[in-house]
Symmetry: C2
């Protein structure tokens, strides 16, 4: 499945020696055509990794013939040398695969502030190219893992004969705008770059952009959508947009489900908002409130922490009309003590917080994780 579920794509994942562990760390995804249409969405972080700066330019041309992805190093905050390394990566891939370096996207993930071992990465591209296969999607998904415990793939198929497939990595530094998250989606639908861009932006706005595991926005987030046109079918625009959204949503949920140290997935539903922006702002403030995240970890329906987080936002609400439910029990009504908190059952991994602003009819859902001692352990030792 993964990026090779759609016709017209080959992929490979290999161990190039970039990671000290010796594990898989280099992936190639190649669009075999006939089309080379592509769109991309990148991190909103103003400190952008070299591969993001590079790939943003590539996407502007509307064509991507191949994507080179590496784990084991983010190539972020590496200055001119880092950018030259990304450029050399694209040049090498173009030399090996044919075509222009200007149509090769590059994505990197791992530690910020270290140079990539180009003496290993460049030979790795040759090795990966030799292993390209129409069944290589799984191996590519495995090669981009960092602290991910599982690889993430998803697929949606249309009765009209086309397919959207994808892979993702991301477990930490996982917050919107976008969430160190690399995603490559592929489709054999016959869609041009503009159509891909519309579908991708609409899909990421309500999926990856509403995932907030730890409030920390990455320097490297990249979501690419490549179309080969190999199905020979021009998709219905609405159906195609929904297929892309479905695959993005599936991958986004997998990211939350595998977040560093997490023991709970928190579905934050903000309802009764005056505007969608208000709902998103409130949802994000809950997603980033460490005290609330600790309470959820402790299976403690501490709704006071929900209200104190709502109170820090600029959303429209009256403190005396706020209602909060945890797993369906309205523990806070009209800004004060509601139903018996002992009725809340929080034993399962998914916890649902519903915050009713009682101001209107708009809503938004944000996915977050609890804050755990395991998260602290994993992230206090990561680079050492």
């Amino acid at each position: 499945m993964s990026v090779t579920a759609a016709k017209g794509f080959t992929a490979a994942g290999i161990a190039a020696g970039i990671k000290e562990s010796g594990g898989p760390d280099l992936a190639l995804v190649v669009n075999e055509g006939p089309r080379l249409a592509a769109a991309g969405v990148f991190t909103a972080n103003r400190v952008k990794a070299a591969p993001v700066l590079w790939s943003e330019q590539v996407v502007k041309g509307g064509q991507i013939s191949a994507v080179v992805l590496n784990s084991g190093g983010a190539n972020a905050c590496t200055g001119p040398r880092g950018f030259q390394d990304t450029h050399a990566t694209a040049e090498k891939a173009a030399a090996v695969l044919g075509g222009s370096a200007g149509e090769i996207a590059v994505a990197s993930t791992g530690l910020i502030g270290v140079y990539l071992p180009m003496d290993k990465l460049l030979p790795g591209i040759e090795k990966a190219a030799a292993e390209l296969s129409a069944h290589g999607g799984e191996k590519a998904a495995i090669a981009i893992k960092t602290t991910d415990t599982v690889h993430k793939t998803a697929v949606a198929q249309s009765a009209a004969g086309w397919t959207v497939g994808g892979m993702a990595k991301g477990a930490g530094m996982l917050a919107p705008g976008l969430a160190t998250m690399l995603v490559v989606l592929t489709t054999d639908a016959d869609a041009d770059a503009a159509a891909l861009d519309r579908a991708l932006r609409a899909a990421t706005r309500t999926t990856f952009d509403r995932v907030d595991s730890d409030g920390c926005m990455s320097t490297n987030d990249t979501v690419l959508l490549l179309a080969s046109g190999a199905s020979g079918t021009v998709p219905d625009e609405a159906e195609f947009a929904e297929a892309v959204r479905t695959v993005c949503d599936d991958l986004a949920r997998q990211l939350i489900g595998d977040a560093e140290g997490a023991s709970k997935d928190i579905r934050i539903e903000v309802v009764g908002a005056a505007t969608e922006d208000d709902a998103v702002e409130v949802g994000r403030s809950l997603a980033r409130n460490n005290l609330l995240k600790c309470a959820i970890h402790g299976e403690d329906p501490n709704w006071g922490r929900v209200l104190s987080a709502i109170g820090t936002t600029s959303a429209a609400f009256d403190p005396d009309r706020l209602n909060v439910a945890i797993n369906g029990v309205w523990v806070c009504r009209d800004g004060s003590v509601g139903d018996d908190r002992d009725l809340v059952d929080m034993r399962y991994r998914e916890v649902r917080i519903t915050a009713d602003l009682a101001e209107g009819t708009e809503s938004a859902t944000i996915w977050a994780n609890d804050l755990t001692a395991d998260y602290v352990h994993e992230n206090s030792a990561y680079s050492s």
Copy 2:
């Protein structure tokens, strides 16, 4: 010392039975005059506890004759009943101490969303009044602790004959705007309410408002400054402002030093900013970045996390000109790899992060803590 360091004040701290532990939980601070001037600064959280709503009104009159403070319950998100409880507290104190309930400030701290046990609190006021003493400041400071491991007091004395003293509590839900922090400052300087207000606002802006332990703004933050005029000396305004700032700064540092679960105090200095607002915004984004806080806990000079946090702000900067020092070692220069990170010694409790935006001459210092497994443990079990 504490709130009775200045002449004209008595205080007491007793166990009223509000806390299940049976520990001290009720404090009284009484201004014996001749002046009853006062100023106050309160939480910027839009969800405000009943005692905050009450005391904001009291402060508007410019006079406070006494402050009743309780731990063991925040009386926040308790609706009309909670406000009636605060009102009854002020009425009881007025009946016992004399004077008007409209000049009695009330402050509460503890769990949000539970009603106070008024059958214990009201008799406690009588008991505390019977123990009022010019040496009672220490006991008052002890009675307002919640998860604080130590009580916090500070004092500054002027050669002109007046004194500023104070007490504070706060260990979690500790973030600006203001930081569950209750602070009572007293002075025997002969200053009116307007002068107190100017000094207090100037002092809190660069002290309590620049403490950000866990990014979570409380519903109950209250800082009061009471003047008795008992020294008979009208203070020089600049000297008085500096004394108030010194006491606030001392107490703010004590709050950070005792923050829940913390093993490191992080001094975040943002320099080279175009504006002070930019410096504060960048400082806060570092203070609230969980990945950076975990890295500091792990004694890992992970400057990439500093840059990724700066990148989420709207401050003026060029990513290729950013410089970062950790404990004086410039590990990041011009947005890229700088001096050897192995030179950074992070064994001690205080860690200094200097972020140079290379855009101007403005600066700001924010104090924060690391994120630890102990913080998670303490806050996943607090209400259960």
